[in-house]
């Protein structure tokens, strides 16, 4: 392992240690719950980045998995009194099925169909959550969810550990041989197919992993706020995931974490001033897409590469395929 590689691991390691230590230094429960929510959103963002950053496919219904994870845990434990383990298995099964259906229908055709199908499915589930009052509790939601760990600090530590495991797992995935195939798919799907790789299999796999992790984030979230409600399925949540990833930098994994930190801090700062913080988020998002399409991570990379003075070929206008 080179020195550079070792350094790469020091930052996340330090971050995890710091995250674990904070609640024992600061007694403020506000800080703990803010950090809990940042970590959960980070997991959600990482699941999104796995898809967008490593395969180039954008999902416009990613909140679907998050909301399903939340609702299934809430419904099975509150209404059906299932044990948590069984509820978790159910979340896993449903996320696998949904992601399989989506990928089965869309991987054979253009990514555009994936964009549209995820958008439509997301909308459908959101509307259903508001209409099927008997199951979902409608706009009132499903309250009374028991947290996975009753102690707030304990739950927080669990979330940090899961975040670390998810990060490590995704890092493994994208740096495995399968990960290189994914990058090749993102660069040139046709050519990768011609090289003999089963493009469909890899895309399906990543869509599923991404869905499961997003479902897990939903489970953690509902367990921390103790109520499942329709907004957890709303496309505005998908936008938040997208925002975190694009802001932090796509295709980096840690970009999602950076994005989650920025977004949650912005949210808690702005929600005191305005209730329309989604407006600010939307505007910032558009500005980032227009002027810094590779996100904050991209800015760092650009600075680094400028130092090296590598000659870049001039940018060419892209033509329509």
């Amino acid at each position: 392992m080179s020195k550079n590689n070792k350094l790469k691991w020091i930052i996340p390691l330090v971050a995890v240690v710091v995250l674990l230590v904070i609640p024992f230094i600061s007694a403020s429960s506000y800080v703990t719950s803010l950090l809990t929510s940042i970590c959960i959103y980070s997991i959600f963002a990482i699941s999104y980045d796995l898809l967008l950053g490593y395969t180039g496919i954008a999902s416009f219904g990613h909140a679907l998995y998050f909301g399903l994870g939340a609702y299934i845990l809430a419904y099975t434990t509150v209404r059906l009194h299932w044990p948590v383990v069984l509820a978790l298995v159910m979340v896993l099964v449903v996320c696998v099925i949904i992601s399989f259906v989506i990928s089965f229908i869309t991987v054979r055709v253009k990514n555009l169909y994936f964009n549209m199908v995820t958008m439509a499915l997301g909308q459908l589930f959101y509307v259903m959550s508001t209409k099927y009052y008997k199951i979902t509790g409608g706009d009132d939601g499903l309250p009374g969810v028991k947290p996975l760990i009753a102690n707030k600090t304990g739950f927080y530590i669990l979330v940090v550990i899961i975040l670390a495991v998810v990060f490590l797992f995704c890092h493994r995935v994208v740096n495995s041989p399968a990960g290189s195939v994914l990058k090749a798919i993102k660069n040139n799907e046709e050519r990768t197919g011609l090289l003999g790789y089963n493009v469909l299999k890899y895309k399906t796999l990543i869509i599923q992993i991404s869905g499961i992790i997003a479902g897990l984030a939903g489970v953690l979230y509902v367990s921390s706020v103790r109520i499942a409600y329709p907004t957890m399925l709303h496309s505005s949540l998908t936008l938040q995931a997208l925002f975190m990833v694009v802001l932090g930098g796509t295709g980096t994994l840690y970009g999602g974490v950076i994005g989650a930190v920025i977004m949650k801090i912005e949210e808690s700062a702005l929600s005191g001033i305005t209730t329309r913080w989604m407006l600010i988020l939307g505007i910032v998002f558009i500005v980032v897409i227009l002027f810094f399409p590779s996100g904050t991570a991209g800015i760092f990379k650009k600075l680094a590469s400028r130092k090296k003075k590598t000659e870049q070929p001039p940018a060419l206008p892209e033509t329509k395929p």
């Binding site: 180039g56 954008a58 416009f60 229908i105 869309t106 054979r108 055709v109 253009k110 555009l112 169909y113 964009n115 549209m116 199908v117 958008m119 439509a120 499915l121 909308q123 459908l124 509307v127 259903m128 209409k131 099927y132 496309s235 505005s236 936008l239 997208l242 925002f243 694009v246 329309r276 989604m278 407006l279 988020l281 939307g282 505007i283 998002f285 558009i286 897409i289 227009l290 399409p293 206008p317 892209e318 033509t319 329509k320």
Partner: protein
Amino acid sequence: MNTVIQIVFYGLSLSMLFFLLSSGFSLIFGLMGVLNFSHGSMFMWGCYFAYLAYVYTGNFWLMLIAGAVGIGVMGLLMEKFLIRPLKGNHTNQILLTFGLIYVLDELAKIAFGTRAYLVSAPEWLQGSITVGPENIPKYRIFMIIAGIVIFIVMTLLLQKTKLGLIIRAGIDKPRMVQAIGIDVQKVFLVTFALGCALAGLGGAIAVPFMGAYPSIGTEQIFNAVAVVVVGGMGSFLGSFYASLILGFAQYIVSYFFPELAMASTLIIMLVVILFKPNGLFGGKKSE
């Protein structure tokens, strides 16, 4: 008999609403490859522009014009300042229009709050007409006629004018259009504005029927997406037929099982992607 008459008229008016909503969406996508997810939000703003015109002038026709022109101008600005700078990077374009949904929705909430504003149709469009044993609201019939008129006008525009020729040529061979001396940038601008104006007009026509409220956009974009998939990407005629199919399907399903209406649309959409990914009526190739 009752049921049949009701299904014909209500299904048809719902279809025309879908057509007004999706034709501009499909046109823009077909020519420019831009999937404008904020199209539904433009429709919603069309409702509000129409509402404002109604409040200040009380004139029904001015109200329709306000919706179309207001959103047309919005489209001009959007193409010039948000779409063009992305230089044809379709992924970033989709991401941007997705973000724009929330900007437009939040702005509507700030300006108008979350309540629904109602606009009444002009007197000559109030009340209903008796068709056999059934009473059909006049405004439903107006919507059907409006949809058909706009379909005919747009078809003439695409078939008979130079702009129409260029749009059809551009949907087919975007590169070549430039190589025969056409400034494709300008055509994009005009087409984008035109497509948005159609959304605005659709919103204005819909407003006496459904009112103006902020979440119309996110509710309706679902239908626009479904129409484009079923009709074939970028096929104008296809979007007309697909509107009919989905409008009738949604009405019939909601007549018997109200809660399954949206699901029926989704299922039709998924089946079409699975078995006929180019849409039922041609359009752009999907590989």
